[in-house]
Symmetry: D2
Subunit: 242 residues, 4 copies
């Protein structure tokens, strides 16, 4: 399975605090983790030509991961459209943390995708609420992150097809932090944690969830559906072929 | 409750066959039916200034109905954006028949909304599959339409929140023909029947379903959610106000 | 609309602490609140003949509320079966707090309905996560209860049709605390709060949610579906009537 | 993965027409097909001691298939309870055709599971409506069965978590013929086709769907959730350990 990790890759270059945690970028940490889980992983970043997402790259990607934050607006609409087309065709998409506000996620959801947030080094506890979901494979009752950014409800998304994780935050909020959606022939997994100032993506359980999400989001092998004008499958008196 | 029926209103002016069935436009037939069901109904059409959907009209609309077909592209993107904003704020939206391909529906769904179709005067039978849904109030096991356009699966929408009707077609297809969705604070009901060359919107049961859909889609009265940076609700050591 | 509030009514008679809070029983407080909201309300309790749920009572009940805790096992299986039949026929059911373990709820869910719990006078905050749901009508972003029993995930229910409230608890847990289901022709709303040692049912917002739940769960007026052997609706060569 | 195919195995012994099609029983045809798909398959039938479902068999079963029709009532309630317990623990369950009325399916659904039916050698066409679902892997737009028993809506089940197939029947009905549910830690797939008087289970596409269903229903490896009284995870003033 071919996985592409896309990262905005700005904080890591511009913010010392982030550089210390992710010297080679969030994408490299995710890529290493997914490689360990047995995937064939490539990376792509905003400042590459076509954001690293050429048609060839997209056509050879089974599951795409997306991390973005400060530069959502710099992502070219034409690329967003290509990614959307690929999701509709079957490519899986794993949307991480602040990518809730990415153009691609908002476009696929049809909602504003807004939420409450706070940076206060507070504790997050992600509870599994769908115990038989393959994305929860190997995960205990909850994952505890000592310090994370808070995201709180209302999270302005459509009702998820499946709700896998619910987060508890020290400051009093809750959040639907692991949620699945389908659009066209593609599967989408949104997973909340991963603020750039915390070493969240080094956490083995978080890596396991993301690896599970990639596996779950793998394309289903089928012919693309046929749309448009259709001949009847049964005898139909009123039917005349054009 | 204030209802606005929006109609493209082109076929009725350009196609004699349609003019005979809907001399004053599909919107007028729907408006009469909804008035009989007790709603305060206005209409709006594509060729009016701002398509009849000024900010005042939209702000005073609790539920908007949408019928379009040949001129989806002529709908101004700025108006689509305003309608979307109003749905997100709580306005109900009832999307009829060929409006599956309207800009507003596609934008709210995040999918291509494509389907199979055929004009062959064939029989459609809409089966109720969610018997306790208020949209099925007063409706028998099924509604039979002697002649309708066929829409067939795969219908490229997200999995509906609720599936109320399933259609059987004489030519061999099925279709998820009554489906609900929520986006932001607004409720959306898609209802399949109503091709312009058939007198479907005079059918009392079809009118009843649409009236039920309007009632179901009525806004819920609440404050709009607060998004953005949030102070903790509990004591939090790591928190410093900016 | 005819509402029946069913209560086990044991704690209120046997536990002084509870007697002080609910001297006439939880059912009377709920009945008063629902009467104020415009419903025609009756009550029924475990120790009445047939638990107060005679066929006449059940047949005249549009929505039944259920509160039970220590005496689930004393509820006669024959009565449970009658209630289930009525739900399948269309009667709404509002299941409160510890009634998660009632025979009727477990039977309708098909799961164990177990959960984590703790009595520690801790704070509960119920967040609205489905802002357009009629059950959230008139409710702010969250409801805060200074002291309640904790219920924590995993809550062993099927994935709800709709998730309206999520609870945050001071001790570190979350809970799907407002959830809807449909069974047969009936609608079911589970609502978490209401431990007998806390005055939760006097809280005006909690009363409002329960009143909204009753309204939402009201029966849809339709003929009961026809099941069993069915003649074809279309000409079928292979068909011979028996 | 260990699969057990359970079959009532009565029609095949008592009805010549069925014997000709399934001389060794439906279970043997299913077992062969699943073996070809790479599973380790065993069979069990009603008339074996404990219906072939001893605790050892159940404990070593990852996914159980269930076919029954005329003898649902002969299935021992104690065995049903054991199967339910295993599903709650994580065992997958694939429920076939007339097993919609099996004790185990009705118990897990919480509904009557009734439907319309007709034996008239009519055509069934199963349309894929969830194109990215792994159960649809390798399946075309639809599967056509020249002759099958008809099952028609309303099918009295809870709203499925996912709807994969919709059936069209020649006589005018539709049916939700491929549907998934979760109960406890177990996954359930209901798949409609397979009347005993038709050679449906020899159909390669039907076999593929069932094999896909088995794969999808495989247990997720996690610790069983902890229920009951729970110590707080955060400091809680009101908490005293018992």
């Amino acid at each position: 399975m071919n996985v592409t990790v896309w990262n905005e890759y700005r904080h890591e270059k511009n913010n010392e605090e982030v550089t210390k945690i992710y010297p080679d970028g969030i994408h490299q940490v995710l890529a290493s983790a997914l490689t360990e889980h047995g995937y064939d992983v490539k990376t792509a970043t905003l400042d590459e030509p076509e954001h690293g997402l050429t048609e060839e790259v997209l056509n050879n990607t089974d599951v795409l991961l997306w991390w973005g934050h400060v530069a959502h607006d710099e992502v070219d609409d034409a690329i967003v459209e290509k990614v959307q087309k690929r999701v509709w065709e079957g490519m899986g998409l794993v949307v991480l943390h602040s990518a809730h506000f990415s153009k691609i996620f908002k476009t696929l959801m049809g909602t504003g995708c807004d939420l409450k947030w706070r940076e206060a080094q507070e504790k997050e506890r992600l509870w599994v609420v769908d115990p038989s979901h393959p994305i929860a494979e190997g995960i205990g009752e909850y994952i505890e992150l000592e310090e994370e950014e808070m995201y709180g409800e209302h999270f302005d998304i459509p009702a998820p097809d499946e709700l896998v994780f619910l987060s508890w935050f020290e400051g009093g909020e809750v959040f639907r932090s692991g949620a699945t959606f389908k659009r066209g022939n593609g599967k989408i997994f949104y997973f909340r944690p991963g603020h750039e100032t915390h070493p969240t993506y080094y956490n083995k359980q978080i890596q396991k969830v993301i690896a599970n999400g990639v596996k779950w989001a793998a394309p289903t092998t089928r012919e693309y559906p046929v749309y448009g004008n259709a001949k009847p499958l049964e005898k139909l008196e009123g039917y005349k072929e054009d």
